[in-house]
Amino acid sequence: MYCIETSDLSYQYSRQGNELHRVNLRVKEGSIYGFLGPNGAGKTTTLKLILGLLKKQQGQIKVFGEEFAPHRQPVLSKIGSLIESPSLYSQLTATENLSVWQKLYACPKARIQEVLELVGLGQTGTKKAGQFSLGMKQRLGIATALLHSPSVLVLDEPTNGLDPSGMVEMRELLKRLNKEHGITILISSHLLSEIEKLVTEVGIINHGKMLFEGSLGELMQRQQTAGGIRLDTSNNAEAVERLIAQGLDARQEQGKIVLPLLARSEIAQLNRALVQHQLDVYEISTVESDLESIFMTLTHP
């Protein structure tokens, strides 16, 4: 079952151009869904539409199998969110900030201390939220999202502004929440490296269009197929002609010859053939494209 499902979701801020174009996004129950895309790709707009912060124009949004708009309140009672920077009342303490939301969600008061301990802010006492570091603010934002024990967490770039150790801590916390509490997480980021160790499902968006959606395994599969072989010879132009004549998909790129992945025996055979034609081979190497380069290829074709 999908926790969150959008069908042909389109949105435009102004008459010029679409911000989102027929976005289909499916977040499986119990998964950690990484929603990736460069800045301005349409991630935040999509998440705002899912949470009802933007008025839907076209398409369908279902949360827990129900249409969002007519069931807005019951649906929102099961979602915790952190969109962009955390929402905090700067003149209030961490406990007072959470009290503001505790009253609205009508959850037990004891939850306030529980979530503060969970995010490591249990000892902030009378310190006002305005005096918190960026990392502490971000953690208080997560605590707010977790306060009412939601089934789904929607987090928009929650690691923005965090230092590397803060990022690791956040990742561990989210993993724990998913494993131990069974919370489904939809997390957006513009850095694949930041969330590739966390997510089970991935959606990639750019210019308002979904470019890929699937498991991390499927994306890794692309990694393998996207790999290739790089060659450098004494005459690359002639070498390319000879390789094409042998039925290989060879081309020149940045002064080197690029070929699709081949078996080891085929590489040896190819080398022999080039040498037989008086072409000196200076380099044969395999090119493994990492997730980051797949991401770049998808978002910058």
């Binding site: 705002k48 912060l53 933007l54 309140q73 969110s81 929402s87 905090l88 969600y105 009508a106």
Partner: protein, 259 residues
């Protein structure tokens, strides 16, 4: 789902240590504090004043003289804008709008807190007026005023001022909900207040929504303000308040981006 009471409590909690909350407390006691010292520092005048049968009426009139025309409207412009803009300043609209409550509940709870704070201000101001009248004779060892404290008159006057300043609350609420920049509601408020003060002697001055506190104050002093009665000013004020509030509600509900 969130009840109105829970929403109101949540909104009330947000006012804790806020600038608007301080403004209510300081604004309520500021003029009484000055008048207290004015009476303590001039004991001869005070001696004569406490013997007069209209001592408490004088205290009331002196206090409202400074409050009604400028301080109350200005304080309201500031406090309403500060309180409403708190969500913009703290980047919290998006969080508030993803809580399981209707937009109507949010709108009414916020307005309810504003009106409660206005009541709070009037209570503090009345308490301040009483203390500024009763404490100076005690400090100076002068006999206390013969006249009993006219609670009813004080409350009635405050009730009228409360109604007459509602258009200011309504309009400031409307503008503050729509514009992120604090200078917009502030500028609009100051502009309308100045326009209302300039237009006081205009035959249609009562069309100006920020003018009713001044009109009511001058009518208390016995001045005739055109052809309208005190009750008519209050009706205009209530009409404007209802109009601004409805307009504000529709703009708020229809806002496309609630983040």
């Amino acid at each position: 789902m969130t009840t109105f009471v829970a929403s109101y409590q949540s909104e009330w909690l947000k006012t804790k240590r806020s600038l608007a909350a301080w403004l209510v407390v300081l604004g309520g006691f500021f003029i009484p504090f000055i008048l207290f010292w004015a009476r303590v520092l001039y004991p001869e005048k005070l001696k004569k004043a406490v013997l007069a049968p209209t001592y408490w009426e004088e205290v009331l009139s002196q206090s409202w003289q400074f409050m009604a025309i400028l301080m109350l409207p200005m304080g309201l412009v500031l406090a309403t804008s500060l309180l409403t803009q708190m969500e913009f300043r703290n980047n919290t609209w998006k969080q508030l709008h993803t809580t399981p409550q209707s937009y109507t509940t949010i709108f009414v709870a916020k307005l309810g807190v504003l009106l409660t704070m206005l009541v709070q201000f009037f209570i503090l101001f009345n308490l301040g007026m009483y203390l500024s009248g009763i404490l100076p004779p005690l400090v100076r060892g002068i006999s206390l005023p013969k006249q009993a404290f006219p609670w009813e008159m004080y409350l009635k006057t405050s009730g009228h001022f409360w109604i007459n300043c509602l258009p200011i609350v309504g309009f400031q609420y409307l503008v503050s909900l729509q514009f992120k920049n604090f200078l917009v509601p502030l500028g609009a408020g100051i502009g309308l207040l100045l326009a209302s003060l300039i237009g006081l002697e205009w035959e249609h001055g009562h069309w100006l929504p920020y003018s009713y506190c001044s009109y009511y104050f001058f009518s208390l002093r016995g001045a005739k303000m055109g052809t309208l009665t005190v009750d008519a000013f209050s009706k205009w004020a209530l009409g404007y308040f209802v109009g601004f509030t409805l307009l504000s509600y529709f703009f708020y509900i229809l806002k496309k981006d609630k983040s």
